[in-house]
Amino acid sequence: MTATATPPTAKSTTPPRPEGKQKRRPAKSPYPLWFYIPAGILFTVLFLVPTISSFYFSLTRWSIFDVEFIGFENYVQFFREPALVQGFINTFIFGFMTSGLKVILGLLLGVLLTSSVIGRGYLRSVVFFPVLVSVIGVGFTFRALMDPFDGAINTALGWFGIDGPGWLTDPAWALYSVALVDVWRGVGLATLIYIAGIVGIPQEYYEAARVDGASAWRSFWHITLPLSWPATSTVVLLSLIGGLRSFDLIWAMTRGGPGFTSDVIASVIYKQYQAGFYGLSTAGNVILFLVVTAIVVPLSMWLRKREVEQ
């Protein structure tokens, strides 16, 4: 890199720089490290410090007035809470279900919307639109649509003679219903990322494949799929991380109910916070941190390794 840097004398032909700093470091990399600093300061103060101190605070009994060190008592209490085991499992179900569906639907829609179908512009807009609407608003809307008796979904199912379940009131369904709404809301973003990835694939590959007589399916399998891998890894990571931490939609739709059946770790944390158990709530944060990290870090390393191999 540095080999290509110009000697200072060559600059005399160009207009003066706004900063005029270049003379001091002619042989330096053109990519200055201080670009990291402003973002780094914010990140350190408002994210790293709270996160690191959360490990300490999770070991305390913490109220508005004082902090008392109590060891692992919060964690013990947290794992005794019946809602936690349920919330713990639900977090995985919700995360993997939403992320898997977003990848599959996002890829299919991405391929469809980069092909020459009619109404492409309309479809792109309409699929992406739910991303824009307030999560809380979406939650309330589907709460009304999913009403077991009067809701539009069960009314429509009734026309076909199907007796729809109590989407949000039946403990067996509540979590999955919220997950489906989350996919409805988030698939537009996944599609957008896939569209960007797919149009970035050079057309020459498709031409070459076509000359070689490859079918559309083989083109998809051997060109689109591997070459849109960066898009796939972005979609997988973002939706998994979002899914495992998901709170807003669940809170708007079920508040973790009925009972604890649609609680996830994030909603348990919030309930503890509301109750004023700050230490306990922070312990929940640490647990969620560990859960998410244990899943996402190995996965992202694997995805990045495959990305490099491409």
């Binding site: 890199m1 290509t4 110009t6 160009t14 270049q22 053109p30 990519y31 490290l33 990291y36 973002a39 780094g40 990140f43 103060v45 408002l46 410090v49 709270p50 996160t51 959360s54 605070f57 913490w62 980069t114 092909s115 020459s116 512009g121 309309y122 479809l123 807009s125 992406f128 639109f129 991303v131 307030s134 999560v135 809380i136 309330f140 009304a144 009403d147 009067d150 539009a152 409805w184 973003l189 957008l192 960007a196 149009v199 970035g200 050079p202 498709y206 031409e207 076509r210 960066p230 972005t234 973002l238 991380i241 709170f247 944390i269 916070y273 709530s281 922070t282 944060n285 969620l288 941190f289």
Partner: protein, 301 residues
Amino acid sequence: MTETRVVTTQVADGQKPLKIRKRRKLTWKAKLQRYGMGSIAILASIIVFLLPFLFILFTAGKDRQEASLFAFTPPSQWMLWENFIAVLETRNYMVVTAFWNSIVLTVVAVSIMVILGSMVGYVLQRRKSRWNPLVMLFVLAGLIIPPAVVPTVWVMQSLELYGTLIGLILIEVTFGLAFTVLLIRAFVAAIPKELDEAAIIDGAGSMRLFFTVIFPLLRGVIVTVIVVQAVTVFNTFVNALYFLPGEPTVQLTLYNFLSQSGNQWNLLFMNILIITIPPLILYIFFNRQIVAGMTSGAVKG
């Protein structure tokens, strides 16, 4: 259909196609895909995506009694304007205050986020330094780790940022940075490094290189980042709840119409309509640029 149709099973703007042997077969298939798949997709999109919004509109136009029935019918008497006024007047024009707060929050936070985020994403992709693993670790940490709520409140209190709009702006920037950096880094990778080298040979310094060569090329992804982050920040719910108590933001106004004594669904849905307008305008305004930006980002030498 001209000859160019032959190769357009994928987007192929302005391409000069080679004449290919299996032309007729491909055309037939392309047509099937174009019209068949398109029709199915449009029909499905109406049911899955448009009907819920029609429901919001219908319910927002009903009176309180009728709205509580959840029926998917047009209101027997349209009351959009009355409900609109009723929502505005609720709790002493709280929606108006909330709108102002949310718009200031969104504009300032997203601007800072885009500039800081693209600086990091760019250097991170371009320069191999020993800091990269650490920065990448922070980016992933920022994406992965759920913010520790109470300790963050504690830090903000000691900086006297707690409960202020500036505090919430900085929080949104911090929480949004990781995603911004990740997205921009991925797109910087698609910009040929030869461009940098050419600019350097032409005598551009690092600031000039970034702001006049790279930054304009990032336009497509930056528009995407702006739209996505603006929507995220505008729709922020939990962060506002935790870090800006006492000052309303738009999402919190929805809860005005839920109460133990009975929900006012008509006003609630009217409120959803009102707070969806700014993201909608943003999207209509940027829609073409999103698609154009992303397609142009794909153009390679």
